[in-house]
């Protein structure tokens, strides 16, 4: 087994809270997000998610719990053969919902993130910022209880970063707990929010 990436971390993410997760590159931000998303199990220690110990959740139950979490991957992970609209609607589609039941919601969200004119476009044609926004919209579409975003403003200019931040704040006001992993200090300075700083596997929290 390799060296420990994270150790002695104790923290909680309260409901409806908003926090930044920051630290230098390689500090373990992405690993921590993966632990929170239940795509990794801790080698020791305990992580409780929605009142369950994630190490003991049986595999078939994971999709149901993941439906309560929205995640924005650093590399977007949009499906190249689906349009912006179809990519954003994907979480609802895999839940077996009928297209007519969510079409208006998806179109509204796309307008809200500024992609109202790009609904029928494939990801290959979208700019980095547009892909970023489509990935964020996909994470938000089912009103998750927790939103995890890995460097969500990494590919956009400062005005767009500001717009995306407002989007996360708006979502937070509607009741979603938000964790944004970033090392963009300028972005963090724009909001009075809890900061979780990871350094060499340790975590310091500034309320």
């Amino acid at each position: 087994m390799g060296s420990e990436i994270l150790r002695d971390l104790t923290f909680d993410i309260p409901k409806r809270s908003f926090q930044f997760l920051t630290g230098p590159s390689g500090a373990g931000k992405t690993t921590l997000l993966r632990l929170l998303f239940m795509s990794l199990k801790p080698t020791r220690g305990q992580i409780r998610s929605f009142d369950r110990d994630i190490a003991t959740i049986p595999t078939p139950e994971l999709p149901m719990l993941r439906r309560r979490i929205g995640i924005v991957f650093q590399d977007f992970r949009l499906l190249d053969h689906l349009t912006t609209y179809e990519n954003v609607a994907l979480p609802l589609r895999v839940r077996g919902k009928d297209e007519s039941s969510y079409r208006t919601d998806v179109l509204e969200l796309l307008k809200w993130v500024g992609l109202g004119e790009r609904i029928n476009v494939l990801p290959a044609v979208l700019s980095g910022g547009e892909k970023q926004r489509a990935a964020i919209a996909r994470a938000l579409i089912d009103r998750p209880e927790l939103l995890l975003a890995d460097e969500p403003t990494g590919n956009v200019d400062p005005p767009m970063a500001r717009r995306l931040l407002n989007l996360f704040l708006e979502l937070n006001r509607l009741g979603t707990a938000v964790v944004i992993a970033t090392h963009d200090l300028a972005l963090m300075d724009q909001v009075e929010a809890r900061r979780m700083i990871l350094t060499e596997g340790r975590l310091d929290i500034y309320e």
Partner: protein, 331 residues
């Protein structure tokens, strides 16, 4: 309002964006899936061709056996003290007195001369030569007569007569036919084995390019069974397309050969082909076998696709409990 005004009016309002009809979650065509369809078509063609070939060889071998064992021959050697015609009639009478015999035919002098013509030429006068004469008796294959009893009675009454029940020939033919069928079945086994492996590996190859789709679906909350079903549907379509094309082509080959054979009856080419392969018709059983092969291939691809997708999901989940295996995780 004039047309121009109407156009202007329409131009001032931005039309509502229309969503295109929702596309399938698994991309409908790409290079891998086209290549898979071609591989499946080729393997289906070869498998069906072998299947039809083996069924043809079996039918031909079975007909050889039954034709040759349907007859026995009584041969009477000439002798100075023997009235050949009386002996022939007597032999036929004796043979037909046994249960299990059907008809008896004495080979007359002309027929005997024709039999010897390839060796002795057309101008043969059979009376000048001490040529043995034959009586051909057809027998009931299901209920053959007692050959030993017939042999001894013939010997008692006509010492110059010998009975040939073709046992040696039949035995040789049976073993040859069995060997031919065994070789055919072995080749069919090999072709089917190769087909299964090729289809399984080609399906897995085509799926490897779709790993990111499985991953994204899994992470946006799709259950494993949902992802499995989507891929299963996709691969069933590809394999049905491929195996239907291959099987149809094989069926056409047999139908074409059978047609050619029926059109060219009694030509030297056809006689030669018929002697080698028998008739090209594979019958309803053969076409049913071709259809079954097509379904087996389609099922095989679909099941492989499902198992591969399930294993991919299992691997993604496996990383949860083995953090050392982050090699396939995205950054």
């Amino acid at each position: 309002m004039s047309d121009r005004d109407a156009g202007h009016e329409a131009g001032t309002r931005r039309p509502e964006m229309r969503v295109r009809p929702t596309g399938p979650i698994v991309p409908p065509t790409n290079i891998q899936s086209n290549a898979l369809a071609v591989v499946i078509a080729i393997m289906a063609f070869l498998a069906c061709l072998t299947l039809g070939g083996v069924s043809m060889v079996r039918a031909t071998a079975a007909s050889w056996q039954s034709q040759i064992s349907r007859e026995i021959t009584i041969q009477i050697k000439p002798d100075d003290n023997l009235d050949m015609n009386a002996a022939l009639s007597k032999a036929r009478e004796l043979a037909l007195s046994f249960v299990g015999t059907r008809t008896g035919q004495i080979m007359d002098e002309d027929a005997t001369a024709r039999l010897l013509e390839p060796w002795l030429g057309p101008d043969l006068d059979i009376k000048e030569l001490p040529v043995p004469r034959l009586v051909v008796i057809t027998i009931d294959e299901q209920n053959p007569p007692d050959f030993d009893a017939m042999r001894s009675i013939l010997k008692e009454n006509i010492p110059q007569a010998t009975l040939d029940d073709h046992r040696t020939w039949v035995d040789r033919l049976v073993s040859m036919a069995q060997t031919t069928v065994m070789i055919g079945l072995s080749i069919m086994g090999l072709v089917f084995g190769a087909m299964i492996l090729t289809v399984v590996f080609a399906t897995r190859g085509a799926l490897s390019g779709n790993r990111h789709i499985v991953e994204v679906l899994h992470f946006v909350g799709a259950e494993a069974s949902f992802v499995g079903k989507e891929f299963q549907k996709h691969f069933l379509k590809i394999s049905l397309k491929g195996s239907a094309a291959g099987s149809f082509a094989a069926a056409m080959v047999f139908a074409g050969l059978s047609y050619w054979q029926s059109r060219s009856l009694a030509t030297p080419e056809n006689d030669q082909a018929a002697a080698l392969f028998g008739t090209f018709s594979v019958g309803y059983g053969g076409y049913l076998g071709i259809f079954a092969t097509m379904l087996i291939i389609a099922l095989l691809t679909t099941v492989t696709a499902r198992l591969t997708v399930m294993r991919t999901i299992h691997e993604i989940d496996q990383i949860r409990s083995d953090p050392a295996r982050t090699d396939i995780l995205p950054d």
